[in-house]
């Protein structure tokens, strides 16, 4: 860099002494000199570039070590399949429980009122508890959706690192709360403390 600076200064001095450029441009030469002196030295710039190159190489190596192709082609599909199997098996179990509850309900209709009442209360509790399968299914769907987002981010990461040598930060669309789309309203079951209780919903609706 100092060679460039010295060369420029020589050229400007020479042009001024030979009066081949207007004298006002002498100030430009002085400014260029000041700017050049604040730039990193040849060695400093080289060291910084070398550090940057090493960082990029290290990042690429770390991405490769993560085996993103394996994550995408094996781990994520396997995780999704396992989750689907959970939904299926809980649905089957729930249906068997409901079959049994319906049989009990049928028997309850044929016995004395006191016994029938007790059985029906128990059957109602079984029905209520069986709704866990719906909630579980929706929660698992959320997990599968999250896995798909991770898969897409991995794709972006591989593409960004490979194509440009740097990791581009994906720009995600951020919606204001006033303009939620129907898709943004599909959040599924909320975690404890995150959603509204039935009482709070009643208060919101004013019913």
């Amino acid at each position: 860099m100092s060679n460039v600076k010295a060369g420029l200064e020589t050229q400007i001095r020479k042009a001024l002494s030979e009066k081949t450029i207007p004298p006002q441009l002498g100030a430009v030469g002085s400014n260029v000199g000041t700017l050049m002196s604040s730039w990193p030295s040849d060695k400093g710039l080289y060291v910084e570039l070398k550090r940057l190159a090493a960082f990029i190489e290290q990042t690429k190596a770390e991405i490769a070590a993560l085996r993103p192709d394996e994550v995408k082609l094996a781990f994520l599909p396997k995780a999704t399949d396992e989750l689907d199997a959970i939904v299926k098996s809980t649905a089957e179990a729930t249906n068997r429980i409901m079959d049994a509850a319906e049989v009990i309900s049928g028997v309850a209709d044929k016995i004395d009122a006191e016994g029938s009442g007790k059985l029906m209360d128990a059957v109602t509790s079984i029905y209520e508890a069986c709704s866990f399968q719906d909630i579980t299914g929706q929660r698992i769907t959320k997990v599968v959706t999250t896995l798909k987002v991770i898969e897409s981010r991995i794709d972006q990461m591989i593409f960004s690192a490979g194509a440009t040598g740097e990791i581009a930060v994906p720009v995600s669309a951020v919606s204001s709360p006033e303009s939620l789309s129907d898709a943004e309203l599909l959040n599924g079951p909320a975690l404890p403390g995150q959603g509204r209780s039935q009482e709070e919903i009643d208060a919101l609706l004013g019913f």
Binding site: C130, S131, N187, A190, S197, Q198, I201, L204
Partner: protein, 128 residues
């Protein structure tokens, strides 16, 4: 005014198990004329063929969601007066506000119990 439990009730959910649960709970409350649909589009079609005194619908369904179904019902002159209860796991404020804006009659958050279902139906149709 007491609830007419002989009325036709339409329950809408894409989870067959949930339809079965709601149907059984309704049966225990006294409703025996219960039809089922697995999404908003099918439910809308059924409502145009048969008169229902009450609709109980999930929100999270495809291709037509519960909120889209509700808006369609409220835009249809022949259906817009039908009482519509949303039964859903969507419990965020924005969901409740959106449902109210769309004209929901009542809103039940999952998981719910028989008493809640009965209470909300009574709130919409009158006491049992």
């Amino acid at each position: 005014m007491s609830v007419d439990t002989t009325m036709n009730v339409l329950i809408v959910d894409d989870y067959a198990t949930m339809l079965r649960i709601v149907r059984n709970l309704l049966k225990q409350i006294g409703f025996n004329n219960v039809d089922e649909a697995s999404d908003g589009a099918q439910a809308l079609q059924m409502m145009r063929l048969k008169k229902y005194g009450l609709v109980i619908s999930d929100w999270n369904m495809e291709p037509m969601t519960g909120i889209q179904f509700l808006r369609e019902v409220r835009c249809d002159d022949g259906l817009k007066e039908t009482p519509f209860i949303m039964v859903t796991a969507e419990s965020k404020t924005e969901n409740v506000v959106e449902a109210k804006k769309a004209g929901v009659s009542n809103y039940i958050v999952k998981p719910f119990n028989s008493d809640t279902l009965k209470g909300k139906i009574a709130g919409v149709l009158g006491q049992f």
